[in-house]
């Protein structure tokens, strides 16, 4: 039998087939955007180029006929360069958001749009499993996270962002009450990983490494697991019962947890490295930063997290005391609101800028105000004054706002001579944390004194030892950042344990950054569904959780506000797949074509800003369906696919078979769904259509109880009924004759026009 050589290997071929078909059949991958076996080769996308020995030019595999003796290189440097150029060019003319801004803003890359959308459709279980693909502690994190997702949420351009975090813990609470999902754990790998630190980062690393089948031991210095979530977050924000339940689930997966073991005293890095196949340092930043002002060491001066931890262990009573908290972050808010609950007479928060610049969450500030905290803005401690070693007063330098600094915040400038002296009994300095480097001997540190860890592999300077979270690189950050790093590190460590360490690579995504309020002017306003919460009076008297949760109906209503920013084709988009497979960078920035989305058709949404002009829709409609409802208009860069005579698609000869959508490699053509649209990985089930005698094969795409789409089988055809009738609930077993075009096309005759 005749053969061709592909990348040095001989393969058989069938006469009359293309290089693409022969090579793909041999299991070698060649990407293509414009080719489909149902239509004649077109050779437009330029992605399938390969090097053919003896040919002066690269050839397009999709439309080059195979011939005996050909020698083909699918990924030669020359072919790759041209393929990547094509992908980079397509990327430059592709407008939209592969992922929504909420997901992009989340350091943990939790699929906010996904779980909010699933929740809007009532799919609690699916929403929860989706969350747990990224985050094992959603009930806890949903309560404490400063929510960069909501800051980025585009709904703010309509009125207010979606309450993403509250919806998340609503889903997670529901799960804890109703069976508690446990992910599948892979079979035992025989590898052992030690994780030092049982905070959000360490627990997340444990969760994902355990999922991979490794033996995981979490070693923590404190009496109980949870780290800062347990010892740094007050009960009224995160009930420890919730945290304990989530940690118990991780333990239930088979993660070993040991408390009261301290690095440097109970164990050493060297020792761990010898016992384990990999070690993850996730020790956090547990030392409060001082202010370097006189009087810091007086009795009655405490660090923010130290104070919160003390409250956790001791019965602290502040009755009648005057408490000053210094700082403007969430720890400062936690400390002042805790002080209120401990019955302090006066609680002051001293911050050197104004409310507008405060890094703490707005809701925390608002609730602290409601609870009676007195905010002293534009004031900076100069000295803490004491008597007999005990705090008595604090002197504050009054400030004004000067010019914006590098971060864009206006920096405070002292007002010469304007000093206020306040009587206080307790000063809590909540201005930041740093890590305790005890036991880290031998590890390279950064200039800041944090552990130096590679940002894509999380490797430290010592083989086998990885580090994540607050203790590394830029220092303390929010919990979800540590969680994100933990998940990425778990992936890297997984590959390391398998023998070849692969660093994490952030995907290349298309983003829109040009949207303003006016782009959403036509949206109906729908105010945020506020979560019920305890009154300020009730809150002051105890540590019961402030928020009281959503009802299912409230949650659904809130989730339904989502604008669905992220591309609905994210999980199927071939362009995105190839761009990331080949590591294509957006190297050719330039003007991208602008079009309005057309969704006048009952089943089809068209967004030409995502069109790669592969022509598949035009060709399947003309060549196979025999209708030609779509065509190419204009020339050059302005070329665009348009319905015939530029009329709305539903007013053309379109027969609504949706074949165009099936072949579209990107999100340019999409099916409308019966539910709130949400991009999710679908479950595909092969079945047969029973709406006529043809009994065409169907792939049912579902997620949970949602029936999302009916698709033709690979290389197959489907008519309007098979594709869309289920949307109207049509399911009856009818004995009608199949449409003429299906009969003709299936008999291989093609359309009259070809």
């Amino acid at each position: 039998m005749d053969t061709i050589t592909v990348n040095g290997k001989q393969i058989d071929f069938l006469s009359g087939e293309t290089v693409l078909a022969a090579v793909q059949r041999a299991g070698v991958f060649i990407p293509t955007l414009c080719h489909d076996e149902r239509v004649t080769p077109y050779a437009s996308c330029g992605v399938c180029v390969v090097e053919l020995e003896g040919s002066p030019r690269l050839v397009r595999a999709c439309s080059t006929m195979v011939a005996a003796g050909q020698s083909i290189l699918t990924d030669s440097p020359r072919a790759l360069a041209t393929r990547k150029a094509a992908l980079a060019l397509l990327l430059s003319d592709h407008r939209g958001d592969c992922r929504p801004p909420c997901v992009e803003a989340c350091p943990g890359k939790t699929d906010c749009q996904g779980y909010v959308g699933l929740l809007a459709n009532g799919e609690y279980m699916e929403a929860l499993t989706l969350i747990k693909e990224r985050l094992p502690l959603p009930a806890s994190i949903g309560r404490v996270c400063p929510r960069p997702c909501e800051t980025a949420c585009r709904r703010k351009l309509v009125e207010e962002p979606i309450s993403i975090a509250q919806l998340k813990y609503h889903i997670a609470d529901h799960d804890l009450r109703s069976g508690a999902y446990l992910p599948e754990v892979a079979t035992d790998s025989g590898k052992k990983v030690a994780i030092i630190g049982g905070g959000p980062g360490g627990l997340t690393a444990a969760f994902f490494l355990r999922k991979q089948g490794h033996q995981v031991d979490v070693l923590d210095m404190m009496p109980e697991m949870g780290g800062m979530l347990r010892y740094g977050i007050p009960e009224y924000r995160l009930p420890k019962k919730v945290l304990a339940e989530e940690i118990a689930l991780i333990a239930k997966m088979g993660v070993h947890m040991r408390n009261n073991v301290r690095l440097g005293t109970d164990m050493t890095l060297d020792g761990l490295a010898q016992t384990y196949d990999a070690v993850v340092i996730a020790i956090g930043a547990w030392k409060s930063i001082g202010m370097r002002i006189p009087g810091e060491n007086l009795q009655g001066v405490d660090g923010g997290i130290d104070f919160l931890r003390r409250v956790h262990f001791e019965k602290v009573d502040l009755t009648g005391k005057r408490v000053a908290i210094v700082g403007g972050g969430n720890t400062a808010m936690d400390a002042c609101r805790t002080a209120v609950r401990l019955n302090a007479a006066h609680v002051y928060t001293v911050y050197r800028r104004t409310k507008a610049e405060m890094p703490a969450d707005a809701i925390e500030i608002e609730e602290a105000e409601e609870e009676g905290v007195i905010f002293k803005y534009l004031a900076n401690p100069l000295e803490i004054l004491g008597e007999n070693g005990i705090v008595k007063r604090i002197s504050l330098q009054k400030m004004r706002l000067g010019e914006p600094d590098a971060s864009g915040r206006r920096s405070p400038v002292p007002i010469e001579g304007d000093i206020e002296i306040m009587d206080v009994d307790l000063v809590i300095m909540a201005i930041g944390q740093q890590n305790d480097n005890t036991g880290l001997d031998g590890l390279s540190l950064t200039k800041r004194g944090t552990i130096a860890a590679d940002e894509t592999s999380f490797r430290t300077s010592i083989e086998k030892i990885f580090a994540i979270g607050d203790a590394t690189n830029r220092g303390a950050d929010i919990a979800i950042t540590a969680i994100g790093e933990a998940r990425m590190a778990a992936g890297v460590i997984g590959s390391f344990l398998e023998g070849e360490m692969l660093p994490y690579r952030a995907p290349v995504l298309v983003k829109r950054e040009d949207l303003t309020e006016s782009d959403f002017a036509d949206r109906e306003k729908a105010a945020r569904v506020k979560m019920r919460h305890r009154s300020a009076k009730e809150r002051r008297s105890g540590f019961s959780e402030v928020n009281l949760g959503y009802s299912a109906e409230e949650a659904k209503r809130e989730a339904s506000r989502c604008l669905e920013c992220g591309c609905l084709d994210y999980f199927e988009c071939k362009l995105l797949d190839y761009v990331n497979r080949y590591g294509v960078k957006p190297v050719y920035p330039g003007e991208a074509r602008k079009y309005a989305v057309s969704d006048e058709h009952p089943y089809i949404t068209r967004n030409m800003e995502k069109c790669v002009l592969c022509g598949l829709c035009v060709r399947i409609c003309e060549e196979v369906v025999g209708v030609a409802a779509l065509g190419l208009v204009n020339r050059g860069f302005s070329t665009v696919v348009a319905p015939e005579m530029r009329r709305p698609l539903k007013e053309t000869s379109c027969i609504s078979c949706g074949m165009c959508v099936s072949l579209c490699p990107t999100g340019a053509l999409l099916e409308k769904t019966a539910q709130k649209p949400v991009p999710v990985r679908e479950e595909l089930t092969k079945t047969a259509c029973n709406l006529c005698e043809a009994r065409c094969g169907i792939i049912m795409a579902t997620r949970g109880d949602l029936h999302l789409r009916n698709l033709p089988v690979e290389g197959g055809l489907l008519c309007e009924k098979g594709r869309f009738a289920f949307l109207n609930g049509e399911t009856s077993d009818k004995q009608e004759a199949p449409p003429e075009w299906i009969v003709r096309a299936s008999s291989g005759k093609g359309s009259s026009r070809t």
């Binding site: 330029g46 439309s63 150029a85 060019l89 050059g636 860069f637």
Partner: protein, 592 residues
């Protein structure tokens, strides 16, 4: 006595119709002819007079305006006249002498609307000779001639004919590509307007050799005069028995129809042309299959360009050998191709128009000896050969021999024969931008590299000439240009980067000047220049002030004027209107 008026499109545009009317009003009978190639001298009027012994003498009058027409009439009427002032200058007459006209052999000489004038000059003799030969022998003769495709690619004509001949199938198509789209090329139009029968005869010979009985001429609709004359010629050829059944008693049947194209540059690409003929969107497809196997309506088809077909009858009325030896017989050695090539000289050349020279002549000879050199005594900088698909040949390579291979070495191409001549005042970055703007707009939009790649290249060039270029732009541009060449499906995309690549090759310093030094050496790019008035030369006439569209010029009458740079849009109107050459172009000052 015969009066012949040049009525090619160039003549008509220069006012030939009006001149014709003057003669007619005075009772003179006039004839017409096509373009002789000296477009810069149009309208041209020729007066043929026979002496007693019947010898015809010709007087040629050029740049004939109304006044000149009256003088000529006076001379014809034997009155006192100054017609001599309008005679063809010797220098220009010499231009014709330096040429070897084969494709243009009848242009500007015969009346294109009269078949008898064509046959009187040997027309259809080649057809008759070829019909006496076996088709194989016809192809052999073309092979001997070495004729190659004159539309641009230079593919051997005999090979295509032979492939079509050997393709199985009763129905075959002989197609003439008259979709001349290169800016600056107009030889195909001139040939059809001036000598349509030569194309018909060439197609007939080809069709006979290939066994084809259907012919189509695909002419762009922007050539209405060509379409009219072609249809007249087809009608006359049918009446004379050169088209139709059993042509000249040979048993060979053939007819031709005309299809007007809607004017897309890409339809000059043969597969796109076929798609357009079939009523589809003009988009190229991948070859193979070649048109010789599957062309128009999936039938074997042969597509040649107008100039190629027009050269064929000469080969048969003379011989293939004679065609092949043209260079040698003209004293040219070392040419790697045969025959002649028509060039359209445009740009900063003194004598713009159409010339036909033996292949193998140097670029310098064509521009200086035939084209008369550069306008206004400026220095020759470069010539763009091959239109937007070609490249520039810089002055230092002016001794390059014009044949397909030698030109390819410079990065340019023979192409359809457009020669855009550039002088010292031409900004080469802007030239590249101009051609890329054209190909970007004319891309059919099918393949990625061409559709988006040319757009991105154009954006970079626009940035550079606009003053916003970055140093890395040159590298990105070069890299992208190579990818567009590599990844495009058809000739349009594969050659579109040539103007950029050749200007980068020979004039990279001009790119750098724009980007690094913020300077356009040629003082052309608006964002790099400013207009100033030389107070010593300015007479204060106020013309510039009156013409300035942004009121940037101020000054009292009879006092030197000044231009406020901030308000100036560099439209150049002041410089053009100044009669005292007082407006200077300077470098714009940049705020660092």
């Amino acid at each position: 006595m015969r009066i012949v008026i040049g009525k090619g499109s160039c003549g008509v545009a220069a006012g030939a119709g009006k001149i014709e009317g003057i003669f007619k009003a005075e009772g003179f009978e006039t004839g017409i002819t096509g373009c002789i190639g000296m477009c810069y001298l149009e309208p041209i009027v020729e007066v043929y007079d026979s002496d007693v012994s019947g010898n015809e003498a010709k007087k040629t009058y050029v740049n004939v305006n109304e006044k000149a027409a009256r003088e000529i009439i006076n001379s014809l009427l034997g009155k006192k006249n100054q017609a001599g002032k309008y005679g063809l200058p010797e220098e220009d007459a010499a231009i014709l002498a330096g040429q070897k006209r084969i494709a243009l052999r009848n242009c500007g000489i015969i009346n294109p609307e009269k078949i008898e004038e064509y046959t009187a000059r040997g027309g259809y003799a080649g057809l008759k000779r070829s019909l006496a030969l076996a088709p194989e022998a016809v192809i052999e003769e073309v092979k001997t001639s070495g004729l190659a495709g004159r539309g641009g690619a230079g593919f051997p004509t005999w090979f295509k004919w032979n492939a079509a001949k050997n393709s199985s199938g009763e129905e075959k198509y002989t197609i003439c590509n008259a979709d001349e789209g290169d800016p600056g090329a107009f030889m195909d139009r001139a040939i059809i307007e001036g000598d349509p029968h030569s194309v018909i005869e060439g197609m007939l010979i080809g069709a006979y050799a290939m066994g084809s009985s259907h012919g189509v001429v695909y002419v762009r609709a922007e050539y209405p005069l060509a379409i009219v004359r072609l249809n007249i010629a087809l009608e006359q050829a049918r009446d004379a028995g050169y088209l139709g059944k059993n042509i000249a008693g040979s048993g060979f049947d053939f007819d031709i129809r005309v299809k007007a194209g809607a004017g897309a540059f890409v339809c000059g690409e043969e597969t796109a042309l076929i798609a357009s003929l079939e009523g589809e969107r003009g988009m190229p497809r991948l070859k193979p299959p070649f048109p010789a196997q599957k062309g128009f309506w999936q039938k074997p088809s042969n597509i040649n360009n107008v100039e190629t077909y027009a050269s064929v009858p000469w080969i048969f009325s003379h011989s293939g050998r004679e065609f092949a030896d043209i260079a040698k017989n003209s004293g040219i050695t070392g040419a790697q191709a045969t025959g002649t090539k028509v060039f359209a000289l445009t740009g900063k050349i003194r004598k713009g128009g159409l010339v036909e020279v033996p292949i193998g002549m140097t670029v310098r000879k064509v521009i200086f000896d035939i084209g008369g050199g550069i306008k206004n005594g400026k220095a020759f900088k470069a010539v763009q050969l091959g239109g937007p698909s070609g490249g520039c040949v810089p002055a230092e390579l002016a001794d390059t021999v014009i044949d397909y291979q030698s030109l390819a070495k410079t990065g340019a191409i023979m192409g359809s024969g457009g020669m855009v001549v550039m002088d010292e005042d031409t900004c080469m970055v802007d030239v590249a931008r101009f051609f890329l703007d054209f190909t970007c707009k004319e891309s059919c939009g099918k393949c990625t590299h061409c559709r988006i790649g040319t757009k991105r290249m154009l954006e970079i060039l626009n940035r550079i000439v606009g003053g916003y270029g970055e140093e890395e732009d040159i590298e990105i541009l070069e890299q992208l240009a190579n990818q567009v060449k590599e990844g495009s499906l058809c000739g349009l995309g594969q050659t579109a980067p040539n103007p950029v690549l050749t200007t980068l090759r020979y004039f990279k310093h001009e790119y750098r000047d724009h980007i690094v030094n913020r300077k356009c050496t040629a003082k052309q790019c608006k964002n790099f220049i400013c207009y100033e008035i030389d107070a010593k030369k300015c007479k204060g006439c106020g013309l510039c002030k009156k013409d300035c569209p942004t009121a940037a010029i101020s000054g009292e009458m009879k006092e030197p004027h000044t231009i406020k740079t901030a308000d100036c849009i560099a439209c150049r109107r002041c410089k053009d209107s100044c009669k005292f050459n007082a407006v200077k172009v300077g470098d714009r000052k940049w705020i660092q």
